[in-house]
Amino acid sequence: MTTDQGLVPTRRRRRTPVDWIREGGLSTLLFALPLIVIFGVFSWLPIGRALIMSFQETNLVVTSWVGLDNFRSVLADPNLPTALRNTGYFALLALIFGYPIPLVGAVLMSEVRRMKGVYSVLAYLPVVVPPVVAVLLWKFLYDPRPEGVFNQMLGWVGLGPMPWLQSATWAMPSLVIEATWAAAGGTVIIYLAALLGVPPELYDAAEVDGASIWRKVWHVTLPQLRGVLLITFILQIIGTAQVFLEPYLFTGGGPANATLTILLLIYRYAFGQSLGADYGEATALSLLLAIFLAVMSLVYFRLTRAWSSS
C-alpha cells in the first residue's frame, strides 16, 4: 500500500487475495465504502435510471417501454415554448439587472480604504437570508395596494402604484429583482477577489503613460477581469436555467403562465398533477435541460482550466 510509483521493481508476481489484504487492500476498500455506497445509490444509480426512464412509461406498478414517445409529447406540449420563453426572459433580465451592478459595486468597493469589511458584509448579507424567507418577505413588500411597501416608496417620487406580481407584464421583472437582490452579493465577492489579482504594475505602467482614472478602469481593470466576467456569465446562465423557487413561491407560474419556467414544468409533470404523475415525461424534459446545462458546465470547466493554466 505504498505510493512509490517508479520505485516498483520490475519483478512482478501474481497477486493473490491474501497479498491484497496484507497490502491493506481491505482497509482501503473500507475507506472507499462510504463514497461508493452513497454515490452508487444516490448519484450513479439515479443517473442511469434517468436515462432509462425517459424511454419508459410508468405508474410505479406497471412499466413499459415507449421509445421516444416521452420526448415527442414533451416537445409537443404547448406549455414548453411558454416555459422556454419565460426562462429565457428571466435569464435575460437577470443579466441586465444582475451583471453590471455587482461589477460597478465591486470596482468602487475595491477602492475603499477604511472599513472595507463592513462593505463586503453588507453586500453579502442578503445571500445569507434563507431563500424561502426572502421570497415570503418580498411577496409582502410587493403588496399591490397603495399601502404596499414598494408602492409607498414609489409614491414618494410620484410613481405607482404598481400591480407587481399580479400583472403578467410585471410579474417576471419582480421575480428577477428579488433574485438579483438575493444573489448579487456573491458575485460582488467574486469580483472583489478577482480585483485583488490585478497586478499593480499594470496600473503603474498605465500611469507612466499618463492614463486618467477612467482610462485605467477601461484599459487595465476590465480587460484583467475578462476571464472572471465570462465565468460569472456562464454560472449565471446555468443558475437561471434552473430557476424554480421564485416562480414556485411567488406566483406558482402565474398569472396566466407568465412565470412558468422549465423547472416548474418538470415539477408539474412529476409532482404537480392530481391525476397521477408522469415520471417519464418529467425525466425526458429534465434530460433535455441537462444536456444544455452539461454543455454549459463543460464550457465553464474549459474556461477555468484555460485561465488557471495561463
Binding site: M1, T2, T3, F31, A32, L33, P34, L35, I38, F39, V41, F42, S43, W44, P46, I47, A50, G105, L108, M109, S110, L122, Y124, L125, V128, V129, P130, P131, V132, V133, L136, W138, F140, L141, E147, V149, Q152, W181, G185, I189, I190, A193, A194, L195, L196, P200, Y203, E207, I213, V217, G227, V228, I238, L245, I266, Y267, F271, S286, S297, T304
Partner: protein, 323 residues
C-alpha cells in the same frame, strides 16, 4: 447546486499553502495589494479625495438600504401588530410593539418544532457530507488504490450532471431503495443520505490532501501507523481549514434547501422551516408569520457574522482562478 460546485474546485490548491503562510508574510502580501486603480498620486489630489469620499459614503448608504434594509424591515415587522404592518408598513411602531408575535410564532405555530427539524436535518446532512468527503478524499489522494483513477472519474463526472436530472429518479430511489426494501419517504435519511453524494466536497478534500506534505505520511508509516491511524491522527488534524469550509457550506446549504425536503418530507411534523413556512403563510396572522420568518433568518445571519471570513473567502474562491 452546480454553480458553487464547480466554481470552487479549481482554486483550492492554494488553500493549504495560504493557511501555512506565516502571518507577517500574509500582511506584507496585503500591503502589496492595497494599491488599486487609484495611485498614491491620485489620492493626493483634492478632487479625487472628495470625489471618492462622496462615492464611498453614497455606496455605504446604498448598501445599508439594499443589504440591510429588508432584513431590518423584517425584524421590525416581527414585533409589530398585524394591523400596523398592513396599514402603515413603513411607520416605526405607531401603536406600540407586539412582542407577542414572537411568542405566538415559537409556541402556537410551533416554529420551535420546525426549527428543531431544520437543525437535525442540517446536522445529519453535515455528518454524511463530512464522512463521505473525508474518507473518499483520503482514498483518492492518500491511499490511492489501483481503482482510484476510475473512482475519481466517476465522481468527477457527476459534477456535470445537474441536480435537475436526478430529481425524479432520486425520488423514486427514495421510495424504493435497493437492498433496504422499505421506503425512506418521510424519514430524515431521505435528506441526509443524498446530501453525502456531493462530488464538489470530495474533490475539495482530495485537492487539499494532495497538497499535504507526503513526507509526514511516510514518516507516520515508518513509525508503524496503519491507514486508520494515519487518517485519524495525521490527515484529519492537518485538514481543519478544509473541514471548516465544507462544514459551513454543508450547514448553510441544508438550511437553504427547499425543493428536495418538500418532495421527500410530506408529513408536516418532519418538515424543516424552509418547507413549512410557505404553507403557514395562508393560515397564519401576518405579524406572527413575520416573526417566524425573522426567527428562521436569525441563525444563518449569526452563523455568517461569526464565520464571516470563511464565508467571504469561500464565496471569493469562485473568481480567484489565478490564485
Amino acid at each position: 447546486m452546480t454553480t458553487t460546485q464547480t466554481s470552487t474546485m479549481q482554486t483550492t490548491t492554494a488553500a493549504p499553502a495560504g493557511a501555512a503562510r506565516p502571518l507577517a508574510r500574509r500582511r506584507a502580501a496585503a500591503m502589496d495589494t492595497l494599491r488599486g486603480v487609484l495611485s498614491i498620486a491620485d489620492w493626493r489630489r483634492r478632487s479625487v479625495r472628495t470625489g471618492m469620499g462622496f462615492v464611498h459614503v453614497l455606496l455605504l448608504l446604498v448598501l445599508v438600504v439594499i443589504g440591510l434594509g429588508p432584513i431590518l424591515l423584517l425584524g421590525k415587522f416581527a414585533i409589530t401588530p398585524t394591523q400596523d404592518i398592513l396599514r402603515a408598513p413603513l411607520e416605526v411602531f405607531p401603536n406600540g410593539i407586539a412582542w407577542d408575535n414572537l411568542h405566538k410564532a415559537w409556541f402556537d405555530v410551533q416554529i420551535s418544532r420546525y426549527f428543531l427539524n431544520t437543525v437535525l436535518i442540517a446536522a445529519g446532512a453535515w455528518a454524511s457530507q463530512i464522512l463521505v468527503a473525508a474518507t473518499g478524499g483520503y482514498v483518492l489522494s492518500v491511499l490511492r488504490p489501483r481503482y482510484a483513477k476510475a473512482l475519481q472519474w466517476m465522481v468527477l463526472a457527476t459534477l456535470f450532471v445537474p441536480g435537475v436530472v436526478l430529481l425524479v429518479p432520486l425520488y423514486l430511489t427514495i421510495l424504493d431503495p435497493p437492498i433496504l426494501g422499505t421506503s425512506l419517504l418521510n424519514t430524515f435519511w431521505a435528506v441526509w443520505l443524498p446530501a453525502g453524494a456531493s462530488a464538489f466536497n470530495v474533490v475539495l478534500m482530495a485537492r487539499f490532501f494532495d497538497n499535504l506534505p507526503r513526507e509526514i505520511f511516510e514518516a507516520a508509516r515508518v513509525d508503524g501507523a496503519g491507514p486508520f491511524r494515519l487518517f485519524w491522527s495525521v490527515v484529519l488534524p492537518m485538514s481543519k481549514p478544509i473541514l471548516g469550509v465544507v462544514s459551513v457550506f454543508a450547514v448553510i446549504a441544508s438550511w437553504k434547501d427547499f425543493l428536495w425536503p418538500l418532495l421527500v418530507l410530506t408529513k408536516p411534523d418532519l418538515q424543516p422551516l424552509s418547507v413549512r413556512l410557505p404553507s403557514l403563510q395562508a393560515t397564519t396572522d401576518l405579524g406572527v408569520l413575520m416573526a417566524a420568518l425573522a426567527i428562521s433568518t436569525l441563525i444563518p445571519i449569526l452563523f455568517f457574522l461569526v464565520f464571516q471570513r470563511m464565508f467571504l473567502r469561500g464565496a471569493g474562491l469562485g473568481g480567484a482562478i489565478k490564485g
